[in-house]
């Protein structure tokens, strides 16, 4: 078993899992065109969930903070972006790609800006008083999630809101029998760009080095002369902004959003963080892609199982690797 593990590790280890999943799904689905569509949908979904989950993973790993309110940023990101897109409806429907792109950029930037401000406020007012107290963290952040839902209800109402996509992201690329939605490709590319940016930040900068070290041993980083609490505010704000960006992208993906969006996504986001391993960006990406692919494949092959698929996946992975696929701390 040990030898098998080492051999697998030489060829990519757990990073082979999405490929293995795709191969198994290809055999079971049978129709190549459906398989390609589902795979692209799974990758796009995975990338959007990665955006939402990456900050939570770092926050959890760095400060041992259980933030059940994280998905509030996802909700607000979705609603803020939807409002901006609705306000710029004229630009969205325009034939000009520049106006389309501007509307999209403004919507995404608004969501990110909201995430930055709300994240800073949330950390300073809600999280800081409950450092090192998991029970109070759970209670207060769950409470904050409920309050945020009510705030969304008060501002946007309870009726589902339709989200309009920019014209240039509508439609699909057609390759023979295969149809790939443009929006999914865009979501995948944006998620990949954020992952590369985070990877560079964490592995090529001194701040990234501090974050990685802090995830492993906060006390030791402080003993080397660094204020980890100040670093944590930065990480929290970054995570909130990414969650809001993920929410904004998700809004465009599902095109119909309700105030319950945050609570719905919270489960998926936590599953991804747990599967991936705490504090690890690579692990979060891996977990998100596996969750995205599984949800799409199972949704096609056994629709009745689709609701349970994430839970079953998490159980299977935790039985195999109790610390997740790629935990930051060995």
């Amino acid at each position: 078993m040990e030898q098998l593990s080492q051999t697998l590790e030489r060829f990519g280890g757990v990073y082979l899992l999405p490929f293995a999943l795709a191969v198994v799904a290809f055999i079971m689905i049978g129709a190549p065109s459906s398989w390609v569509t589902l795979t692209v949908a799974g990758l796009a979904m995975g990338m959007m969930v990665f955006l939402m989950a990456s900050g939570l993973s770092l926050v959890f790993g760095l400060m041992d903070v259980l933030n059940f309110g994280h998905s509030a940023f996802v909700s607000f990101g979705a609603f803020v972006a939807a409002s901006v897109l609705a306000a710029l409806g004229g630009w969205l429907g325009s034939d000009s790609v520049i106006l389309n792109a501007l509307a999209l950029i403004l919507a995404l930037l608004s969501a990110v800006a909201f995430g930055v401000v709300a994240g800073w406020f949330f950390e300073s007012v809600i999280i800081k008083p409950v450092y090192k107290d998991h029970l109070r963290q759970i209670l207060i952040t769950m409470g904050a999630l409920i309050v945020s839902e009510q705030v969304i209800l008060a501002i946007w109402g309870g009726t589902p809101i339709t989200v309009h996509r920019p014209q240039f992201l509508e439609g699909a690329f057609i390759f023979g029998d295969v149809s790939i939605e443009v929006y999914r490709v865009f979501a995948f590319v944006l998620g990949l760009a954020v992952f590369i940016g985070l990877h560079v930040l964490l592995n090529r900068t001194r701040i990234g080095l501090l974050i990685r070290a802090g995830v492993e041993n906060r006390e030791m980083v402080e003993s080397l002369g660094f204020r980890i609490d100040r670093l944590f505010i930065g990480v929290f704000v970054l995570g909130s902004a990414l969650a809001a960006l993920g929410g904004a992208m998700w809004a465009g993906y599902v095109t119909l959003i309700t105030p319950a969006l945050g609570a719905e996504m919270m489960i998926v986001v936590f599953i991804v963080v747990i599967i991936g391993g705490l504090g690890s960006i690579q692990g979060t990406l891996l977990g998100a892609i596996i969750v995205g692919l599984t949800a799409n494949y199972i949704g096609y092959l056994a629709p009745k199982l689709s609701l349970a698929s994430n839970m079953l996946l998490m159980m299977a992975i935790l039985m195999w690797r109790p610390n997740g696929l790629r935990p930051a701390v060995k």
Binding site: R212, E222, L224
Partner: protein
């Protein structure tokens, strides 16, 4: 003047009082050894000095400045390095990254790095390896190297020989002797033979109180005192 002065330091961990009024002075230069049985409060003393646990009441004075209540990072920046019992190595980082993190500017003073290579050749050999893959002895070397990668006035080292092979312990003793020529070391140690070969001054702590202070030479000469305080038989 003493480099570090601890007066009436009392530390509670949760509901338990661990230190009941620890007082001792660490003079500048050489190795000061803090001895004591398991659970006497040696590690708590070092952690309290570093601000990882807050002593209350009591005071810690470093180079004449009261550092009681300062944040751990602030205490470290005063020139105190800490090598904890578990070494505090960042396993997911490479040897180089572990060291560069301890530098002030993010770049190495080449003369100091050369000195570290001479003290601990394994550091150069495993420079690009992830720290989790090192042996226990190599991790301890890395932990000490990290403490001296920048000029420090005082290094607190907690049980550096624990679990190490005798050959590594001997190499560590040699390294500490060299380091102590320029930097004061406050060493917590249960291995008395290791401690006595290095210590110039010492204190014995028992049940959260300092019960003896003096020179190591006097302590080594007094077998009855050793037997009484540390249960060491000749």
């Amino acid at each position: 003047m003493s480099l570090l002065k601890i007066e009436n330091m009392k530390t509670d961990i949760g509901q338990y009082a661990v230190l009941h009024g620890v007082s001792f002075d660490v003079p500048e230069g050489g190795v000061f050894v803090l001895l004591g049985r398991n659970g006497a409060g040696k590690t708590t003393t070092l952690r309290s000095i570093m601000g990882l646990w807050s002593p209350s009441p009591g005071s810690v004075t470093f180079r004449g400045e009261d550092i009681t209540g300062l944040h751990t990072a602030g205490i470290a920046r005063k020139g105190i390095a800490y090598v904890p019992e578990n070494m505090g190595i960042f396993g997911g980082l490479t040897v180089e990254e572990n060291l560069v993190l301890a530098t002030e500017t993010g770049s190495f003073d080449q003369a100091r790095l050369k000195r570290i290579y001479e003290l601990f050749p394994a550091i150069e050999t495993f420079w690009t390896k992830q720290a989790w893959s090192l042996s226990g002895g190599q991790k301890q070397m890395l932990a000490v190297a990290r403490a001296i990668i920048e000029p420090r006035a005082l290094i607190l080292i907690d049980e550096p020989t624990k679990g190490l092979a005798p050959s590594i312990v001997a190499a560590m003793a040699e390294a500490f002797r060299e380091i102590a020529e320029t930097t004061t070391i406050l060493l917590v140690e249960q291995n008395f033979h290791f401690a006595k070969s290095l210590g110039r001054d010492m204190a014995v702590i028992e049940d959260g109180r300092v019960v003896h202070t003096g020179t190591m030479a006097d302590f080594v000469a007094d077998k009855a005192l050793q037997e009484r305080l540390l249960s060491l038989s000749a």
